[in-house]
Amino acid sequence: MKKLSMHEALNLALREELKRDNKVVLLGEEIGKYNGVHYVTRGLYAEFGKDRVIDTPISEESFVGVGVGMALLGFRPVVEMMRMDFSLRAMDQIYNHMAKLRYMSGGHLSVPMVLRGPEGPGPNPGLTAQHGQQLTTLFAHCPGLRVVTPSTQYDAKGMLKAAIRSDDPVVFLEPGPLNNKQGDVGEDDYVVPLDQAEVKREGSDITLIGYGASVALCLQAARELEHDGVSAEVVDMRSIRPLDMRPALESIKKTNHALVVEYAWQSYGPGAEIVARLMAEGFWDLEAPVERVSGQEVPLPYAANLEELSKPQMDEIVGKAKQSLAQ
């Protein structure tokens, strides 16, 4: 194990996979000579050259399409969105082609590619409305896409390696707020399964459920609740599509209370889906309605105080956890 930031962990995954399989190619804006706006591709252009680490024009729709075309012929493109917000430009390729070609072709074709990039308000503040959105919901809605998001540096490396080796297209969402945060990363060639949620902290009184950057909020809330004698379990969903509900359902058998925390806008989002499935499959284990804390449903504002208020609030998380337990 060594201490690495999230972007260093992702960089290591890319480096190892580029070395392992010469069908892996990277495509994106400023990923090569410039070394990547969020440092994820740092040093890879120098090491692997311009045919493996391909700098693209600002043509999101079409370089995602180039990735699809290369994947159809057996390459494993990893396409970076400088910010996930820019994927909106590429939605035709993502939704209508990348996600659907295997099905529409009756299984003739497959698209083994990864679409990756940072989402949400971070790492730096002040990203504002078109650069700091959390668009998980849009990808999570679409059959044919595998949608994953790591919350630890260790998972980031192992999940990205697994994503590159997946024969299905993967949308790999990197939590912007965690990009520069450090944590333990394995130095061996390990992969983390893409379809398994994981308990990140054990507890017995309430289950806090998060994904991506909100897992850190859940862990912090668990520590605060501990001061008040509440033992919170934290489940990291990791895979948004497909959802692995098993650890959360197991957890509520023990805790009988649950709270879902997410940066995304609440309406119709992954949190809504998680709550619906808890109700459908775990209703009789619950002693109180599942609580939810989400990002404010506003475009990400600029002013520091407003930006802060737009994120899920710690006092609200702790407060709703206690409120649930009081019922």
């Binding site: 079409s62 399409g65 159809l72 082609h97 529409m104 074709l109 044919g144």
Partner: protein, 333 residues
Amino acid sequence: MSVQSQPSLSGRPSLSAKTLQKYLRQMLTIREFEQLGEREFRNGLIRGYYHSYAGQEAVGVGFINAMDLKRDYIVDHYRDHGHCLLVGIDPSRIFAELFGRASGVSGGKGGSMHMYSAEHHFLGGDGIVGGGLSIAAGVGMALRRQPEDGICVCFFGDGALDTGTFHESMNMASLWNVPTLFICVNNLYSMGTRVNEHSSLSQLVDRAQGYGVKTEQVDGQDVFAVAEAAERIFKYMRQNKRPYFVEALTYRYQGHGIHDKASNYRGVEEEAKWHGRDPIKLLTEYLIAEKVMSGKQIEALRSEVLHELEAKVAEAAAAPLPNPADLTKDVLL
């Protein structure tokens, strides 16, 4: 280029009688296939959309015969039945796809616009105008990294020139020396809108300028002209590893899709004028004039083709529906 001012074919004495007969058989097969398809659409066997290739046969025949499908690939648009026939997919599997049967080329999951066959290097069939352009650039990127000097051919209509991705794809294909041939099949109408009402320039080939890519126009009614251009262009592309843009001037006899009554917006006079330069008529006139085939032989060939296709329709119509369990197969849920 004014296509309609040229009354007859450009002439191609170098083609063997066997090749000429193959071209005719292929063009007749496509024409009869589309007529049977339209019949079965009206009979209710085919649902949804149906984009007929009738009238445009010389474009596909000229280009696809010049390809080497052991190493080359096609990324097509929704008007794809004719191209499926030309790459050698069994007509019964194309009809079966149109009828939504398990034996269809896409297992019944694609339909008219979404035919795929990895084995035939046929990568669709795409329902989004301009949707295949960047994929074709990507296929070209992949081919450029392989030793076989393969080429990707991308067919699309005049309407696709109006999408942003056309310009993005041309730019990247040129920037990265991608061997993708972009063939704009200009049948004069972007759905129901005439080219002069959707394009800022009347010569579409001019809209492909600006990317350092070689371009040319070809008379898409003249199978010899298309075949000549195709052979020359593929040779250039294999040698130079460069993209290329062609505008093929042609006409579709049906509307954009089968529901679309084209004479409402383009007038019967224009249609009659183009029927006067029908690609099959021009070829048969040439074959008769050059005594390659007699009129009687040509009619016999047409009947033979039709008879064969009728058997394929029957075969497809008798094929089973997809297994309900296949509803959730081939997609990550």
